[in-house]
Amino acid sequence: MSVVRFENVAKSLPHGFWLRRKEVLRDVSLSVEQGEVYGFLGPNGAGKTTSLKCLLGLLKPEAGTVEIFGRPGSDPEARERLGYLPEHPYFYPHLTGRELVDYFGRLFDIPANVRRERTDALIESVGMTAKANQPIKQYSKGMLQRIGLAQALINDPDLLILDEPMSGLDPIGRREVKDIILDLKSRGTTIFFSSHILADAEALCDRVGLLFEGRIVLESGVDELLEGRVEYWDATCDDVAPELLSEYTSRATQGGRLYFRISEGDELDAWVDKVRAAGGRVVQVSPHRHTLEDFFIGAIRGERGMDEAEHAEDAS
């Protein structure tokens, strides 16, 4: 059974002064399996937050099904084993960080002594112990994000849903959040997070889905996506006369050092042989791989192209 399942979900929302309905989700289908870290990616405005709201039962989808642990998200029991960090955490400004985490613990009916222990431990783990007794209205964005993460973990969830968990964090904060996510993953927690920062997704996810204009345009395991996809190699050598390697595209020369960009694997072998035959030294060969970003920009360009083609057809 999938932990999270979207099947052909569509949703439109009222928009503008006349509240005309605008299609936000057209056809979202995806599934997140037990123990997986799933990156729900897409540009701003693609419908990521809307999808998560459908999942949590805050919005009712117009078509399709959304399920958490095999139950509809609108069923409170489905949310018993779930932790959720909203986008730009909006929390009660009049509460202190500790009171907030404790309040959310009470909403899970966690007994007081367990709640107190967990609250302390979680506040510690997100590095907020010193600020826990300050009112939330004094918190910076990064601090809100940290306390938000602490409240999302108060019920020791089996499924963690994070909406843009890295936004607003400084590099140290991002690293800490990443460490927390990896730690939870190693303990078997399923994590479903939305992001538009692809480097984070690449570092954390087992699988990713790309949402674009309300549709999933690409869904794949990260390893399969990135495996063996070397675009070119940067190759550097010393002590060789440049003329001997004139058949390769040279990028730069600095001192006695030559820099090349080599696109084919076979060509690379030949290059190494040549350098050594000329009595030179290979200093460095590094592959330049495709990143998730390359794939997604490619996928989105493809979609846009198709859209344009469709429009052109309609016009003719």
Partner: protein, 255 residues
């Protein structure tokens, strides 16, 4: 139940940490204290002025707080998006609404309690005793507040605080005049208008039922049966309003 209670106590905490509540309380106490000054102007009916104005102050400021906080009760949570994290917990929308409602009723109980304590002390100081009917009058005022809060909650669940305030105040005013509707039915032209008036007569709360203040002030009898009936009516009306809010709110998309 624990979850509803958690939401209620949190709503209470939020209200208490807001300065507006203290401000209302200061005004109410100032008004009661001022009534003693006013009573010097009258001869022979000093006590009447103090008892009357005091009960009036409790009702007016109680109503003001019920409307002022009631109209933002749900709307603020949606507007400030604080509701997302709450409804992502295993809490149903109905539980959320009931929790918010009881949170405000808890606040009103404490505020009314404080005003009543000051008021009864004042009467005691002036008269050396106080008629137990004063307690009945305060209880019924609180029951009226429970209806006003429920009405404010209905409006708060689907419209802006501004409109909710207008509607709630309208219901409050008309609610004190519904006894006139019974007479109006016979005068209304046409069956359609008669049905409408009859419908409004039953749909709107009869708030005048809870106003036994002048009777108490003038020493007229108030029976236990009357008080019980009024309390029963308030509970039934409130339950109806909460059910209506739950139905309206359950369908709503929280964008």
């Amino acid at each position: 139940m624990g979850r509803v209670w958690a939401i209620a106590t949190h709503t209470f905490k939020e209200a208490v940490r807001d300065r507006i509540l203290v401000l209302f309380l200061i005004f109410a106490i100032a008004m009661m204290a001022g009534s003693t000054v006013l009573s010097w102007l009258t001869v022979g009916s000093e006590l009447k002025i103090v008892t009357d104005l005091g009960l009036g102050a409790i009702a007016i400021f109680g109503t003001a707080i019920a409307i002022f906080i009631g109209i933002t009760l749900v709307h603020k949570e949606v507007e400030k998006k604080t509701i997302y994290a709450v409804l992502a917990k295993p809490v149903s929308r109905t539980q959320f609404l009931i929790g918010k409602y009881f949170g405000l009723m808890l606040t009103l109980a404490v505020v009314t309690g404080l005003m009543a304590t000051f008021y009864l002390a004042l009467v005691w100081w002036k008269a050396g005793a106080f008629p137990s009917h004063l307690l009945a009058a305060i209880l019924l005022t609180y029951m009226e507040l429970s209806i006003i809060t429920a009405v404010a909650l209905v409006f708060s669940s689907f419209t802006t605080p501004m409109l909710a305030a207008v509607f709630t105040v309208a219901v409050y005013i008309v609610g004190h005049l519904t006894w006139g509707f019974a007479n109006f039915v016979n005068l209304a032209p046409g069956a359609g208008t008669q049905y409408l008036v009859t419908f409004l007569y039953y749909a709107l709360p009869d708030l005048e039922t809870f106003n036994i203040r002048s009777r108490v002030v003038h020493g007229l009898p108030v029976t236990g049966g009357y008080v019980l009936d009024a309390v029963g009516y308030a509970l039934a009306y409130t339950a109806g309003m909460l059910a209506l809010t739950a139905i309206l709110f359950r369908r709503r998309d929280l964008t």
